[in-house]
C-alpha cells in the first residue's frame, strides 16, 4: 500500500533522489510535530497520526504543487550534456584511435606550414621561393609550397605535399610520388625524395634540368580518373627581366 509520502513524491517528476528524500523528511517531520501536539492534547497516538496526515491535505495536490517548483532545467541540461559527452568519448574511442590524432596533426601541419615537416634546402646560393599553389586531386589536396633554383647548375627543385581534404582523413600515399615533373623545354626531375605518414606526404622533386627560358615547372598527374596539370612559376632569381 502506497503511503502518503510515496503518493506525494510520485507526482514530482524531475527532482533528484536526494531532493525527494529531503521532501519526505520535511513532510514527515511536519506530521510528527502535529501528531505530538495532538497527543499532548490527549489523543491516542494512532488517531493523532491519522488526523495529522489528514490535516496535510490531498497528497496529489501537494505533489503537483511541488512538481511545479522542481522543473530542474539545470538537471536535465546537466544530464543531456553528460550523456552527449559520454557518447562523444565513446565514439571517439571506437573510431579515433590515437594514431588518428597524429594523422590530424600531420594533415594540419602540411596544410598550414609544410616547411616544418618538408625537406629543407641545404646549400647557400640557390634561389628559394615560397609558394602556395593548391589543387584538388581526388579527395586529396596537392600543395606546392616551394621552388628552389640553383643558378650555378640551372637545376631546380619543387617541393610539394598532399593531405586529405578532411583533416581527419588519410592522405594518399602514392600521389606525390606519381606526379610527373617536367619543364616546358622538356626537362624533367632526375631525382626525388619523399616520405610521410598517413596524415600527409611530402615530396621534393629535384635535379630538374631547366633551360634558360623555362620560367615555370609543370606538374602532371593522371591516374584513376583524376587529372592534374599545374604550372608552377619558377623564380630564377634574375629579377624583372
Amino acid at each position: 500500500m502506497k503511503d502518503f509520502y510515496d503518493e506525494v513524491l510520485s507526482h514530482i517528476r524531475y527532482a533528484t533522489a536526494q531532493e525527494k528524500e529531503d521532501i519526505r523528511t520535511e513532510l514527515s517531520g511536519h506530521v510528527a510535530d502535529r501528531a505530538a501536539e495532538l497527543t499532548a492534547a490527549g489523543y491516542d497516538r494512532e488517531e493523532a497520526e491519522d488526523r495529522s496526515l489528514a490535516a496535510m491535505g490531498d497528497p496529489e495536490e501537494i505533489g503537483r504543487g511541488l512538481d511545479r517548483q522542481y522543473t530542474h532545467v539545470g538537471l536535465w541540461l546537466y544530464r543531456a550534456v553528460t550523456a552527449a559527452l559520454f557518447l562523444t568519448i565513446l565514439s571517439l574511442g571506437a573510431n579515433l584511435p590515437l594514431y588518428r590524432l597524429h594523422m590530424l596533426a600531420d594533415n594540419l601541419t602540411a596544410r598550414w606550414s609544410p616547411e616544418r615537416s618538408g625537406y629543407r634546402q641545404e646549400e647557400e646560393g640557390p634561389v628559394a621561393r615560397a609558394l602556395d599553389i593548391r589543387a584538388q586531386v581526388g579527395s586529396d589536396v596537392l600543395y606546392v609550397y616551394k621552388t628552389v633554383f640553383d643558378p650555378a647548375t640551372g637545376e631546380a627543385e619543387v617541393y610539394y605535399c598532399n593531405y586529405d581534404q578532411n583533416p581527419f582523413g588519410q592522405a594518399s600515399d602514392f600521389l606525390c610520388s606519381a606526379v610527373e615533373v617536367t619543364t616546358p623545354s622538356g626537362g624533367r626531375d632526375w631525382s626525388g625524395r619523399g616520405g610521410g605518414s598517413r596524415g600527409a606526404y611530402y615530396w621534393c622533386a629535384s635535379q630538374i634540368q631547366t633551360a634558360p627560358e623555362d620560367d615555370r615547372i609543370l606538374l602532371r598527374y593522371d591516374r584513376f580518373g583524376d587529372h592534374l596539370l599545374l604550372e608552377v612559376p619558377l623564380d630564377r632569381g634574375e629579377g624583372i627581366s
Binding site: L27, D33, I62, R68, Y70
Partner: protein, 110 residues
C-alpha cells in the same frame, strides 16, 4: 491598479520569516495564530509555497535539530526576499485600499 505579482500566501510567509527563521510546521501554526484563525490553509500546501520561495531565491534553508535528534529544515529570508516583501507589501496595501474604496462606494447593504 496593478495585478498582484505575488501570491498572498507567499506574502504572509515572507512576512513571518522577516521576523525570525522558522520551520514549516511553525509557519503554519503562526499563520493561524496571528491571523486569528482566518488563515488556516491545508498544511501540506504550504510546502510548494516554501519550495517556490527557495527556488526564487527569496528564502534560503538550513538544517536544525528537532526533538529526539530529528533534523528540521529552517527557512531564512534573504536580502532579495526582504526587498520583494517590501515591494509586494506596498502593492498589496494599495490593492487592498482599491478594493476597499470600491466596496465603500457601494450603496449601503442590508
Amino acid at each position: 491598479m496593478k495585478k498582484k505579482t505575488i501570491d498572498h500566501t507567499e506574502l504572509l510567509v515572507l512576512t513571518l520569516l522577516s521576523g525570525e527563521d522558522m520551520y514549516g510546521y511553525q509557519i503554519i501554526t503562526e499563520l493561524s495564530r496571528r491571523s486569528d484563525r482566518t488563515f488556516e490553509m491545508k498544511e501540506g500546501t504550504l510546502y510548494p509555497v516554501l519550495h517556490g520561495l527557495w527556488k526564487a531565491g527569496t528564502v534560503e534553508c538550513y538544517e536544525g535539530e528537532a526533538a529526539a535528534g530529528r533534523k528540521r529544515k529552517y527557512y531564512h529570508i534573504t536580502k532579495k526576499g526582504r526587498e520583494a516583501l517590501k515591494a509586494e507589501t506596498e502593492e498589496w496595501r494599495s490593492y487592498a485600499r482599491g478594493v476597499e474604496a470600491v466596496l465603500s462606494s457601494a450603496p449601503a447593504l442590508g
